[in-house]
Symmetry: D2
Subunit: 244 residues, 4 copies
């Protein structure tokens, strides 16, 4: 099974233990819900990691054994150590895929990779969200129709303060009057980064078949094409090139 | 006045002469309505041109005297000659600005410059359109708030089949469930191209102060930074470079 | 074998029949040389087509049976019919891959897809070319080192007048003082376009292992992710969207 | 003079005080050499700041009074405090221009804005550098020919590990066999960032007329179009949008 894509699903795992409503939707936590549907694909070998574990569950041995890292966080972004955030960033630049889910737009690794405020507008109003597929040929949109809907979600709105995506795969429409670039893909270093908007903890969004399909597609897309382990060391040790 | 930006507003000018409702909104035609509000800016020297004129009003003497060309067309795209369309494309690649308005997404010069189908989805349903400013720092958005609205417009929807814009300045929300990249900017050759979505002939859109502000901003943005008259001749006469 | 990638290698096939030196390097023509090395990969099913065949060897039955089209042309660009060029462009926008080789920067299908002059500077001076891999994670660079060299090639130089590539995979250095974006990738419609600079007819470039690797990688990258056969018809038949 | 562009030229100012050869080229320091030629343009109001000043010469009162910040640093990147680096980043995202010169590719503010390793290959070999203008219509290239040369400079080579630039204005050729994207422009938040490669401390590069022209052009380009002072606070205070 050496060729399986090694996926680590990270979750701060706080809401599910503090809020009965959230726990009802995700009894084992959002991370386990995601790992469960990914595990149905024989190409994927998922595991999980959470904030309260040693090194947030992301010691070097785990990061170096991870092809694609998914991240869900919301109320505890500040409790993630700068060291782990820097290690995740470095690993992405070496080639690891990174998928930021919903409120992870403010997580430390994503903000470090973007370099921008990553701010956005939002409200909780139980609105219908319709996600339009803008790039129909993009692998992350494989198997989808022209759009798909979520009956109720938290609303996010532009201006989403990120660098212009290399590909804007989805744009969301919300019944309350907002639009949002909901599926954004970037190349960073040797790695790939995808931001996917849906996934508020109070809705069963990660049980939705289309959402599962997008996340599964994104894992395949973000899997390393090449790993360049020395990339982060170049910061201190730059090799002179030969003279012709 | 040699430093004024020389603007030519082109209009197929058919609807206004065939449809009393349209004529009531734009008695002198859409082109004159646009030229009128541009003329209020002392930096601009606007003129107009229409389909039924000789060379569609765009002979070489006019094109070579134009810094920015605006284009409105809808039902008569096929009546524009390939020669004039090619001449417009060539002039844009030399440095002239080109602004395609509303249904001009299907006009020949724009399609030649994009290289894609330029297709989109649409319906006429008198829907409210809200245009969100995605790039607040972009000159075309200068003076606007986070969004502006048009009470009724034709609906356009994604997938808008164009090359990914260099800047996506606006994204529209429509009450009927669609989103659209409403303000798209591209660099092509030495010239600049802007597509602006609103402007269906049955609505007073070009009388709207925000729409006028966007178009006026776009003219300033699209004005030539440099003109490279020889660029089109390179097709047949490529200059070898000197050996060091 | 239904899953093989169906490759059509198109060549104007003029130099090889008019110039003994070229014929010596490519006795069966550049197209056959390319098809030969592609055929060594069991994932590919290559065929060839040339200018002098009926419909230049690209009737609808061939285009609809092609996943990736490679194009080599130089002195006979004008002899390609506008109809065939338009058909190729349309098929690319539907999802077919298109790879323009060397002087095909001026071929009609590529120019239609780019919308720009596609001009560049050049000289024939038997210079060494070093191609630097700028995007090491890009699939087209798979298996390459930091750079590779061709001992003698025609020199191309910037300004290469194309829309900014979605990915600039290679940048070439020439000993005479020029640089050139030698590997440029674009998304257009549902299809992918790659331009690869090397391949002048007087050099054995297509026998070079690194060049063969790049072209083979590019075929895999450009293979359709999705085909949208109706895309070109949208020009005349736009479907209104449902009201929510 | 309220309309002048307020420029702050920052320099770590270490080489010039430790190395007699560098001091001979830049007796008052690189920062003063740059401020001097910028001061010749009546549109600019330049001042300088250095590492050894309080807050590195960049307290909030200076940053809030700066439209464009230029940065030269090399051996003392680590001595810049994280707080100042974060304040610079925040100000750029609000709208301030930032121009990183030469070895400032590794300075903290630039690395924070890019999110990548910003690594590159290099050697000191007194090589000739030829900078090709790739985007002739870009304001930063105004007044330049197709290329300009520096007789001797430090060599930089790809892979330059930055996010794909929004515009690649220059690509350098070095006689020793390297290429480098020497003029790279990005939009970040409401601000603009430009990286310009030349400027090694042992060469009189900042006395070169073309280099001065590029830097002067870049200041004009990077000047704020809009300032959005609240942008960094959005991290903690996101305003819900009104319901329609």
């Amino acid at each position: 099974m050496a060729n399986k894509i090694r996926v680590t699903v990270w979750n701060e795992f706080v809401h599910e233990r503090e809020d009965a409503g959230v726990a009802k939707i995700y009894p084992k936590g959002i991370h386990e819900a995601i790992a469960d549907f990914l595990a149905r694909d024989p190409a994927y070998s998922p595991r999980t990691a959470t904030l309260d574990q040693v090194d947030h569950g992301l010691p070097p041995t785990v990061l170096s054994d991870t092809d694609v890292l998914l991240w869900w966080g919301h109320m505890a972004h500040d409790r993630v150590s700068d060291e782990i955030a820097a290690a995740v960033q470095r690993r992405v630049l070496e080639g690891m895929g990174f998928i930021a889910l919903h409120s992870a737009h403010f997580c430390k690794p994503f903000m470090r990779l973007m370099g921008t405020n990553c701010s956005l507008a939002w409200r909780e109003a139980d609105e219908r969200e319709r996600l339009w597929v803008v790039e129909r040929g993009h692998p992350i949109a494989a198997g989808l129709g022209p759009y798909f809907e979520l009956p109720r979600e938290e609303t996010y709105g532009e201006r989403f303060d990120v660098p212009q995506p290399d590909s804007t795969v989805f744009i969301s429409w919300f019944e309350g009057g907002n639009v949002f670039r909901s599926g954004c893909a970037w190349e960073r270093g040797a790695g790939r980064v995808f931001y996917f908007r849906p996934g508020h903890e109070t809705y069963p969004t990660f049980h939705d078949p289309n959402v599962q399909r997008v996340i599964s597609n994104a894992v395949a897309w973000a899997a390393p094409r090449v790993m360049i382990p020395g990339a982060h060391e170049c910061l201190h040790e730059i090799v002179p090139l030969e003279r012709i």
